[in-house]
Symmetry: C2
Subunit: 124 residues, 2 copies
DNA sequence: CGGCATCCCAATTGATACTG
DNA sequence: CAGTATCAATTGGGATGCCG
């Protein structure tokens, strides 16, 4: 009772598969998570999404901009400022991803325990 | 108002980062999506998650089993049957991922349009 | 049929350094 | 400060082939 409305991520040829792929890349969830708190500059993002390289950040942002999930506004001041802000569409995705993030936080310990038990049971 | 409860995916050294990574791999979302409809056999999954290779399917399933998100039950019948079923924990994640899937389906056309417009505006 | 192991290629990723 | 270019390292992931 599901894939009846045109797009079906379960079909590898369907473009919506790309969307699932994008959402599921290492950084998209985190970047959108940060922007869900409000607009941020390139540097803010780099700081808050600890561990991301400038390259991946740019790449991720560009992809999201292309998909119309966020807007990029450059202020040509002396030190240039670039502001990223979620569009309405991007904002609509935010809560879903935050829910996932939150799930991860909530269940992390259980998962850690499960892994431990699993590794004990089947050593190598 | 967020990362105050022990685990913080924004910290690259936090194990919850791995969870986000796992959720965000190409297949986890789809596999859990299928299993949210009920238990399924290896072959069922291979068929419904079109495009996945047996290797990646096994790998994904093993990882999810290790994390305690699903159980694997083998029936040593003549042709062996392996049944995969979400645990309670896995089932709790299902709806969140289905929501994301559904979002992808709903907004795919808009995203496609946005991409087109973006590519027009900035050729190359 | 389920599924594990090996090999191998290609696409991603990351560190770093450099330019506007 | 924002963003890009280059290069090296990693790894995702497909194809096969072999066992239970």
């Amino acid at each position: 009772m599901d894939e009846v409305l045109g797009f079906d991520p379960y079909n590898p040829d369907c473009p919506s598969r790309q969307l699932v792929d994008r959402i599921g890349d290492r950084w998209t969830i985190l970047v959108i998570g940060v922007l869900s708190d409000g607009p941020a500059r390139h540097g803010d993002l780099a700081r808050r999404v600890a561990g991301i390289s400038p390259k991946m950040l740019s790449q991720t942002l560009k992809g999201l901009e292309r998909d119309g999930l966020l807007t990029r506004t450059v202020q040509p001041t002396s030190p240039p400022h670039a502001i990223y802000e979620l569009t309405e569409r991007g904002a609509s995705l935010g809560p879903l991803l935050l829910a996932v993030e939150n799930w991860a936080r909530t269940h992390m310990q259980d998962v850690l325990d499960a892994r431990h038990a699993f590794d004990e049971a089947a050593p190598r």
